[in-house]
């Protein structure tokens, strides 16, 4: 059994979806997160069990809205989508075909997707086709993750385009940059998976375009609008992170053999491992907490609590942490500032700056 599996123990593996894979780049410097992700442990369940449930939730209204929008775009054999793709990609008007991969039954979908795309890539002169519900796969840290892009469009001339349907609005040509970035990261996962599949089949992987088609509601209406988004940067980041995931062993090297993050689920699936024990185990793997984690990691409240216990300057943000040079603890920084603590080797600079800052604050607030 490899060590990542041992780390997970009896906890069933949480399969990676595109969102989870895209999130690998959220904080690569965090050993704790890298190990949990690599082992496929449900961080959300762990956080709940530890008494620090993640602050993320999705409103039923948002879910309903998202589903309604996707159905609208895909209604009548993707009629609305085809209209937009014709304009955006120059798909020929009459000859666009719609192919729903789901019709073959779930267990065959991946093989069927493979066969379909192989044929499309081989007979490059095939007319434009829109594939709904394809199933792709990607190897991550030794396991296969199955991925379901919204739609893949195949263009006359032999290029594949990933289509990503999102329900945030594009208003007068602009959308929330964080939402677009998340969509781009996710779409890059599909681009990469499809490229690897084509490569395995002996086709040129670059036939999958790095321009993905983002479909969103326009302005305040339900009418969809399609925009091309270049995901080359996101692809670069993703490939780096996947390579990193194959080298997690080096993170395990410093950790005790018997260390496990096993949640020990009972028959009802709920964790039975004493929470304090799990917390101790997790603390063995160093976290790299930053306030950004509050929007990107299920375990954020646990790690923030730990940073509070330690009085870590990480609590105040990466920027503050960098400004303080090498000083990692609040007490140390304040000690240097009011002169009650002598600077250690290499701390002379920051000590001088902090003392000066303290002098100025006192003078101005006197």
């Amino acid at each position: 059994m490899n060590r990542l599996d041992a780390l997970r123990g009896s906890t069933p593996q949480k399969p990676h979806d595109a969102r989870a894979i895209a999130a690998l780049a959220a904080n690569p410097g965090c050993t704790r997160r890298a190990l949990l992700d690599g082992a496929g442990i449900d961080k959300d369940a762990a956080a709940r069990h530890l008494g620090f449930p993640a602050p993320f939730g999705q409103s039923p209204f948002a879910i309903t809205r998202g589903n309604a929008f996707e159905s609208l775009v895909k209604a009548d054999g993707c009629a609305e989508l085809l209209r937009m793709l014709r304009e955006l990609l120059g798909l020929p008007i009459a000859e666009v075909a719609y192919h729903d991969v789901e019709n073959v039954g779930a267990h065959l979908r991946h093989a069927h997707t493979r066969a379909l795309f192989d044929r499309a890539a081989r007979d490059g002169d095939d007319a434009g086709t829109v594939y709904d519900h394809p199933l792709l796969s990607l190897r991550i840290a030794g396991h296969t993750a199955y991925l379901e892009p919204d739609v893949v469009a195949f263009q006359l001339g032999g290029r594949f385009h990933i289509v990503e349907i999102k329900s945030f609005a594009v208003i007068d040509g602009q959308a929330d940059p964080a939402a677009v970035a998340a969509a781009a990261r996710q779409a890059a996962v599909y681009v990469l998976a499809l490229r690897r599949m084509l490569a395995e089949l002996g086709h040129d992987p670059l036939r999958v375009a790095h321009d993905v088609v983002l479909v969103c509601p326009e302005n305040f209406a339900n009418r969809p609008v399609a925009t091309l988004v270049d995901v080359r940067r996101q692809l670069g980041v993703l490939e780096r992170q996947l390579t990193r995931m194959t080298a997690l062993d080096r993170l395990l090297d410093g950790l005790p053999e018997e260390l496990t993050f096993d949640l020990m689920p009972g028959e009802d699936g709920l964790p039975t491992r004493p929470a304090a024990e799990l917390a101790d185990a997790l603390r063995r793997a160093t976290a790299r907490y930053a306030p950004d984690c509050l929007s990107t990691c299920d375990l954020c409240f646990f790690c923030r609590d730990e940073a509070r216990q330690e009085g870590a300057t990480d609590l105040l943000g990466r920027h503050v942490r960098d400004e303080l040079g090498g000083v990692g603890s609040v007490g140390e920084a304040l000690g240097l500032a009011d002169g009650t603590r002598a600077p250690g080797e290499g701390q002379e600079e920051i000590a001088r700056l902090l003392r000066n800052a303290e002098r100025l604050r006192r003078e101005c607030l006197a």
Partner: protein
Amino acid sequence: MTEQAAARAIGPAAGEAGPKPAPGPEEVIRRVLADLPRHRGVVVDSPPGAGKSTLVVRAAAHIAGTGEPLMIVAQTNEQVDDLVGRLCERHPHLTVGRLSASGYVAPRRVLELPGVTVGTRVQDLGDPDIVIATADKWAWIAGRTWPWAIVDEAYQMRSDKLLRIAGLFDRALFVGDPGQLDPFSIVDGDRWSGLSWDPLQSAVSVLLRHNPDLPVHRLPVSWRLPASAAPVVSRAFYPFTGFRSGTGPGERRLELATGGMGTVHDRALEEAARSGWALLELPNRHTVRTDGEAVQAVAQLAARLLQRGAVAGSEQGERPVTADRIAVGAAHRDQVAAIRNAGLPPEITVDTANRLQGREYDVTIVLHPLSGRRDATAFHLESGRLCVLASRHRHACVVVARAGIAELLDAHPSAEPVQLGVPVKFPDGWEANQSVLDHLAAHRV
């Protein structure tokens, strides 16, 4: 914008066939001059030291030769005065009018040139062949138009400045280096992102988005960067276009007249003299920006370089590397101030990347923007910043950095926001930094 135009603005799409054999520099200049009357605008991309000023001077003489008036736009007074000097030196028969703001005192070297008139109003200049001024000054000129314009450093010019002066000319040649720092603003410009006329984009980006069919030429040879540096800079910062050095391996030499004492500083200088690069690596530690040890190392390297009587040998002959031929570069102003305070001879230029743009020295000493940091911000990763710092030298570049940059890059979170309709800029700062770091690793002392 069409997809082709998008691809061209940022380089060929991945998977496109490799570049055709590039034309030589003379051929490029010939094509540029031939294109001038055919198009309303012509763009020339010039990597560091690729003869941009030479091109500007030649094109100016070429246009003046047709008998039609020409205006030249540069970005700073220094650049304007430089160009005036070069124009008069190469083409003494041309008359040049130098427009300046009322507070500006032109240096004596400009005032003494024959054929040059300096004034604050166009009317004061007589009717010269060429009128030259900064973009800021041109913005105040009205009531007359010129058939021709040359816009220098057009990638460092914000498009709102171009908007103010574009009505002054009928046709223009835009020249600049796409790899250097982008223009910026002290205010948040998100409200304009995605607009083809986004005022915060460079003059060239906006020009090409509205006129995607204009020809874009590239100068293929850097006359500044030595054979040791051109491939490194080309690979890291110009991955799609590329350029080569005008001199071959061994044609640029850097010799240290006196022997060293085996200190790290001496060894770094010897490595730089031997290979054109050196990385003086300090122990891994997170530090404040004005890292005292790194500042000292930079100052000692500069002092030692002078002490050891460095001599630069090149196609231009041999000459001693005097203080005015050395530059020290850093990312932040407080770092620059700290280095200046460390007791360098005043003739050595110490400045931020922003202010070193367009300048050239024999040897540069660079405080790496990521040195001593725990996390990188977009500012520190900006590829243009490192590009400027790593491409100012004719002979050698010595980089001072704390160990640990590789780990910083490895741990760097990726969450850059994405604006719709904004072409992605390459190279990515992360990739460019990694590429330079890989190269420097082989020159570590």
